[in-house]
């Protein structure tokens, strides 16, 4: 055939996440998710972009395949978001040892100082850095005042801590984009220092959201912490739609 094929360039973010919440592995079907901070202390490395695909939910991963890139991709910026629950539990009806806010705050703001990040295309290291250098430009911003009264003997603290100022342009730029060939595999690894693993092993949580059911009975749902790594860039795909011409 003599028809010429031309790729179209499309803005396309890629992202992958791990969720940390009680029963996250079973309840939310997440491959490589963790049930607690303590469980997160076990691996020396946490892999991204080669474990999950969109079957875990497009909220957490938009990779079509966990094995290789189905299109040519030009990576223009990388960001890592480490997010604790917006509210942490402080329940005086339960033993004080179950208060989780100290662990949540360490996870949100301190842990990342002890995480390395390596990004590979095939076996080739394209980025080796401390995770703090990769602000995500994402996050909830604002202010929450806690109340002094109790709701079902449960108190909440308010936390809006992000990795860097949450403005979309605040990401580690790649003026020389990282070009990823089609059908190549990529991998991002978060590497925990011995100090990070020691701290995680001693942390409790994430805790629970206090919920008041319709019958006014206090209930609890798990809170979730997460780490989301985002790649911003463009992909090259075959032309589609009427706006494209054949060659």
């Amino acid at each position: 055939m003599n028809t010429k094929y031309k790729n179209a360039v499309e803005d396309w973010p890629l992202y992958d996440s791990i969720l940390i919440a009680s029963n996250a592995n079973t309840l939310y079907r997440g491959a490589g998710f963790f049930n607690s901070y303590q469980e997160l202390s076990a691996p020396a490395q946490i892999p991204f972009f080669n474990v999950r695909n969109r079957s875990v939910g497009v909220q957490y991963c938009n990779m079509d395949s966990a094995n290789k890139m189905p299109y040519v991709y030009h990576l223009q910026s990388i960001g890592i978001a480490v997010e604790a629950p917006l509210a942490s539990c402080a329940r005086d009806a339960l033993p004080v040892a179950e208060r989780t806010e100290a662990s949540d705050l360490f996870f949100a703001n301190d842990l990342i100082n002890h995480l390395g990040f390596i990004f590979r295309v095939a076996q080739d290291e394209k980025m080796v850095t401390n995770a703090r250098y990769l602000p995500s430009g994402e996050g909830i911003v604002g202010w929450g005042g806690n109340q002094t009264e109790t709701i079902g003997n449960q108190f909440l603290t308010s936390t809006t801590v992000t990795n860097g100022v949450a403005t979309n342009e605040n990401r580690y730029p790649l003026p020389t984009p990282i070009s990823i060939p089609r059908e190549e595999n990529i991998e991002g690894s978060l590497i925990l220092s011995p100090y990070a693993r020691e701290a995680l092993a001693k942390m409790i949580g994430p805790g629970d959201w206090p919920c008041i059911s319709q019958s006014n009975i206090p209930d609890q749902k798990p809170q979730a912490a997460l780490i989301r790594i985002t790649l911003y860039g463009v992909r090259e795909v075959q032309q589609r739609n009427a706006l494209h011409y054949a060659g």
Partner: protein
């Protein structure tokens, strides 16, 4: 030689965006980390006339989360630095649960604010070989990274009076562009050594030498104020000084997207 063989083809370097960074940690036990050149206390740090960077540690000696240099001797590729930043990090949690004597006594006196304040009284020097390329007060070298946000704790129990104090200090606003831009980039030839020195003033060293800590970062609460040892529910607190160059390195072409010549 056949001109089609790989060895006869001209070599071209590929330019890759690449940061270079190095970290000094201060905390109990940090001086014992092999080949790290770290410090056990603020006082130990205050004893130094210069704190060296970029020629002490490597990625294999301390881990890629603290340093990404392959060699402490020389830079293995041509490198162009477009910006430089100095960060200071303290634990977020201190004075976290007052009236628990075991924690209070070990976390209250961490003096993080004083430690951070001393960076107003510090300068940083970057040298390429013997050539001084940057010499500036650290306040002029914002890191451009760090935490951002808000925490509102509670004081809920009238008996134990739990309080929650949360620290978040950055050298400048945590926006990646907020770094000293080098309008005339610093070019570092291949196999050349670089070194950085953080230099505290006599005043800052005097203050640091009298500063207690870092001690303990609490991570949870003991079941009873009368039981437990602080480290059962916490870790040794660690402060960090991190210096970074953001720029580009030149390396040999790799992968299918590169062409041979």
């Amino acid at each position: 030689m056949n001109e089609n063989t790989a060895t006869s083809e001209p070599r071209r370097n590929a330019v890759e965006s690449w940061p270079i960074f190095d970290t000094v940690q201060i905390g109990q036990g940090q001086a014992d980390v092999s080949k790290a050149g770290w410090y056990n206390s603020f006082a130990e740090l205050g004893n130094e006339t210069q704190i060296p960077f970029f020629d002490q540690r490597t990625r294999s000696s301390v881990g890629p989360m603290y340093c990404n240099l392959d060699s402490a001797e020389q830079v293995p590729y041509p490198y162009t630095a477009y910006s430089i930043g100095v960060e200071v990090k303290t634990p977020s949690l201190a004075d976290f649960h007052a009236n628990f004597p075991q924690i209070e006594s070990q976390s209250k006196s961490c003096n993080y604010e004083t430690f951070v304040d001393m960076f107003k009284h510090a300068a940083f020097r970057l040298q390429v070989s013997q050539d001084e390329k940057i010499l500036s007060n650290t306040m002029t070298l914002p890191g451009g990274v760090g935490g951002d946000g808000f925490y509102n704790g509670v004081s809920i129990n009238p008996v134990n009076n739990y309080t929650s104090k949360f620290n978040m200090y950055n050298n400048g606003m945590a926006v990646i562009k907020n770094r000293l831009r080098l309008q005339n980039p610093v070019h570092i030839p291949r196999n050349r050594n670089i070194s950085g020195s953080l230099i505290f003033s006599t005043y800052a060293r005097d203050v640091l030498q009298g500063l207690e800590g870092p001690l303990v970062t609490p991570l949870s609460i003991p079941a009873s104020p009368a039981t437990g040892v602080a480290l059962d529910y916490g870790v040794n607190a660690v402060c960090q000084i991190r210096v970074s160059l953001i720029g580009a390195r030149q390396v040999q072409q790799r992968n299918d997207l590169h062409f041979a010549g």
